[in-house]
């Protein structure tokens, strides 16, 4: 995959990472400020809601703090954080939709998420507003595939849905966005 929105490590980042791993909160804040925008953009688009994205952002960085010691530098920190962010966000989606079955139902449609329905959205929608109106499953697959560059096989592995289902969700998402962005 390519961590599409994740930024490259800044010069000297390894020293900052090392200090953060040793418990330096100020160093960790530097990492947060460098990588937070990418994590927030990911969360905002996958969750389709600012409040949810803020909560997820907190969870991601608290989890990152807890697990930073396990980061060995085999990959870029941006990639590590990106993957951690995807996992945390998917956990939130699974928890919120445990009974919804949108991730496992081949016939899932693009019924708007309740929170998104409540939003008054103009006829001409920007991308984020249009994404917010997608079902969580379709939105997740669209963001991971078209914006973040994951393959259907990777998405299937991460979300637990079949690759064919992921593909169908993606096509549905594109059609939905096409209707709203290019009517």
């Amino acid at each position: 995959m390519t961590a599409g929105t994740a930024g490259a490590a800044a010069p000297g980042a390894s020293d900052v990472v090392r200090r953060a791993q040793q418990g330096d909160v100020q160093a960790f804040e530097s990492l947060y400020r460098a990588h937070g925008p990418a994590v927030y953009a990911l969360a905002r688009r996958m969750l389709g809601d600012d409040g949810e994205a803020r909560d997820a952002m907190q969870d991601v960085f608290v989890r990152a703090w807890e697990r930073l010691a396990s980061f060995r530098g085999d990959s870029a920190l941006a990639t590590w954080l990106h993957r951690l962010g995807v996992n945390v966000i998917l956990e939130r989606l699974r928890t919120a939709q445990r009974d919804d079955r949108r991730f496992t139902d081949d016939d899932a449609d693009d019924t708007p998420a309740p929170r998104a329905v409540a939003d008054a959205i103009d006829a001409r929608l920007d991308l984020d507003a249009a994404l917010a109106r997608l079902s969580p499953g379709a939105r997740t697959v669209f963001v991971l595939h078209d914006l973040e560059g994951y393959s259907h096989a990777e998405i299937a592995q991460m979300t637990g849905i079949a690759a064919g289902t992921a593909r169908a969700q993606l096509w549905r998402a594109r059609r939905h966005l096409m209707r709203h962005l290019d009517p």
Binding site: V25, P37, Y40, R45, R54, Q58, L181, D182
Partner: protein
């Protein structure tokens, strides 16, 4: 569905594959040939491509970094467990540096401990709560057995216990003479200042065993002080 010439239109899979470029090469050639001859399919694929391109080109929403950091930091601080048991220092390695840090750390803590221990024994005499002088603690050193860390030591455990004691004392504060309560508050502040300075020093030198011992000792002194006041009250 077919074109006016009776040729079947592309399937959804073919249109989507043409739009995102994931068709296998043999299939792609056939699809491209169809698109060059079918305006309807070509327009549909163009719209799909446009959606994908627009999504990829869109600016990400601005992140509320400043707004979120205080909560993230608070959660980190709440969960943070400072391992107070130092790692074993190999004999002879860094001994002079440890000694220097211990002197600095001892200086930081001594003021707090001395002030705290000055009122640390609280006893009931003749129905009143009074403060009696207590022995002054010697400045701790690296070899001080009193500072040997309990394997269960952690800043979080101490902080939890201290908070419990403070909560209890808050309820019993009315039983304390005002000057005793004020003295207790003062000494707790002194110890807290020493703890904060040691924590700062640890942030700069997180693996320093002497600083960890001193921090553990400071936590224990604060806990013990509050215990004595709590017992006496």
């Amino acid at each position: 569905m077919t074109t006016p010439e009776g040729i079947p239109h592309l399937t959804e899979a073919e249109r989507q594959g043409a739009a995102d470029g994931t068709l296998a090469s043999a299939r792609r050639r056939a699809v491209d040939a169809h698109l060059s001859a079918c305006d309807a399919c070509d327009a549909d694929v163009a719209r799909l491509r446009g959606v994908i391109a627009r999504a990829r080109a869109s600016e990400p929403p601005p992140a509320p970094l400043d707004a979120l950091w205080p909560d993230i930091r608070a959660r980190i601080e709440r969960q943070k467990v400072v391992p107070l048991v130092p790692a074993v220092t190999p004999n002879g390695v860094g001994r002079s540096r440890v000694a220097r840090v211990v002197r600095i750390g001892a200086g930081l803590v001594a003021a707090g401990l001395v002030a705290a221990l000055g009122m640390s024994v609280v006893a009931r005499r003749e129905g009143r709560v009074v403060v009696s002088p207590a022995p002054v603690a010697a400045a701790p050193g690296a070899g001080d057995a009193r500072l040997a860390s309990n394997p269960a030591d952690s800043s979080r455990l101490y902080e939890q216990e201290v908070q419990t004691l403070l909560d209890e004392l808050r309820l019993r504060r009315a039983l304390l003479r005002p000057d005793v309560a004020a003295r207790m508050d003062h000494d707790v502040r002194v110890i807290d200042a020493a703890i904060a300075e040691l924590q700062d020093a640890l942030r700069e030198d997180p693996n320093n065993p002497a600083l960890r011992q001193l921090l553990a000792a400071s936590y224990r002194q604060k806990r013990d002080l509050l215990r004595r006041v709590d017992d006496a009250s």
